[in-house]
C-alpha cells in the first residue's frame, strides 16, 4: 500500500504572530485508517519482535518517535 502515515498542512501565518511560526504542521494518520477489514494470512513479526512492538502485524505497526518541540514531524 502506498499510504503515507503523516499528513502536512501549511497554516496561515500572520506578521503579528507572537511565537516563531511553524510553517509546516503535521499530524499522524496511522495504518488502521487504511487497512480495512484485515485480510487473512498477512506477514507476521517474529514472536519476540511482536512483543516488543505491540503488534504481530507489520501492516499495523506504526512508529512514533518523540517530536521536537516545534511539533514538526518527519517520516
Amino acid at each position: 500500500m502506498s499510504n503515507t502515515y503523516t499528513k502536512y498542512y501549511y497554516p496561515y501565518i500572520s506578521p503579528f504572530d507572537p511565537c516563531k511560526p511553524i510553517i509546516r504542521k503535521s499530524y499522524p494518520t496511522p495504518p488502521q485508517m487504511y487497512l480495512g477489514f484485515q485480510p487473512p494470512n498477512l506477514p507476521q513479526f517474529e514472536i519476540k519482535e511482536a512483543l516488543y512492538r505491540g503488534t504481530l502485524w507489520p501492516a499495523l505497526y506504526s512508529k512514533y518517535d518523540k517530536k521536537d518541540y516545534r511539533g514538526e514531524y518527519d517520516e
Binding site: F37, T55, Y69
Partner: protein, 189 residues
C-alpha cells in the same frame, strides 16, 4: 470471571525520578480517555451488543486493565522517593495534600474520574464508533505524553501502549464492518 497473572503486559522501566511526568501520566489513569474509562466502557457495553462483537469488547476491556496497571506502575515509580519539595516543584502538591503518594483516579488537571466519561448508548453502531474514537483519543494522548517526556525507557513502554491503541482501533473498525455488512452477501477479501 478473571484469572490474574502477576506480571505486567509489557515491562515498565523508569530512568529518573520525575514527578512532573507523573502529573501528565495520570491523565491516562483517571482521565476521560484513560485506561480506566476504556476498560469500564467496553466491559459495560458487552451486555447489550450483538453476540459477534461481545468477545472483542471482553478481550479489549480486559487488556485495558493490564494497561491501567502499567500506567499505575509508571506513576508509582516516578514519584516513589520524591520529596514533598520535589512534588511541589512538579505542581502536584495539591495531590500530595489530599493523597500523599497514593494514586487516585483523576486527570492531570486534578478532576476526579466520573462515569460521565464513558458512554453506553445501547445502539451498537453508536457504541462501536464511540469506542473507535476513544482509541484514537488515547493514541493521541500517548503521543503528547511521549513528546513531553525525555525518559527513553518510559517512552519505550508508552510506544508499546500507543501501538496497542492502534490495534484496538483496527479491531473496532472491523467490528463496525461486521455489524454493518449485509449478512446474506458473500464476503470477498
Amino acid at each position: 470471571m478473571w484469572y490474574y497473572e502477576k506480571k505486567l503486559q509489557y515491562p515498565v522501566k523508569v530512568r529518573q525520578c520525575n514527578p512532573r511526568l507523573a502529573k501528565y501520566l495520570i491523565e491516562q489513569y483517571g482521565g476521560a480517555d484513560g485506561e480506566l474509562s476504556a476498560a469500564l466502557r467496553y466491559l459495560n457495553q458487552r451486555y447489550t451488543i450483538p453476540g459477534k462483537v461481545i468477545g472483542l469488547l471482553n478481550d479489549i476491556g480486559t487488556e485495558e486493565f493490564a494497561h491501567l496497571e502499567m500506567i499505575a506502575t509508571m506513576i508509582y515509580k516516578l514519584t516513589k522517593d520524591a520529596t514533598p519539595e520535589q512534588l511541589e516543584e512538579a505542581g502536584i502538591a495539591p495531590h500530595y495534600v489530599n493523597h500523599e503518594k497514593s494514586l487516585f483516579y483523576h486527570n492531570s488537571a486534578g478532576n476526579p474520574w466520573t462515569a460521565a466519561y464513558i458512554q453506553s448508548k445501547g445502539d451498537p453502531i453508536a457504541d462501536i464508533y464511540e469506542d473507535i474514537a476513544a482509541e484514537e483519543k488515547a493514541r493521541a494522548t500517548y503521543q503528547w505524553i511521549i513528546n513531553l517526556s525525555d525518559d527513553p525507557d518510559l517512552n519505550d513502554s508508552l510506544r508499546f501502549l500507543r501501538e496497542r491503541e492502534i490495534v484496538h482501533s483496527q479491531r473496532f473498525r472491523e467490528a463496525a464492518q461486521l455489524l454493518i455488512e449485509e449478512r446474506d452477501k458473500k464476503i470477498i477479501f
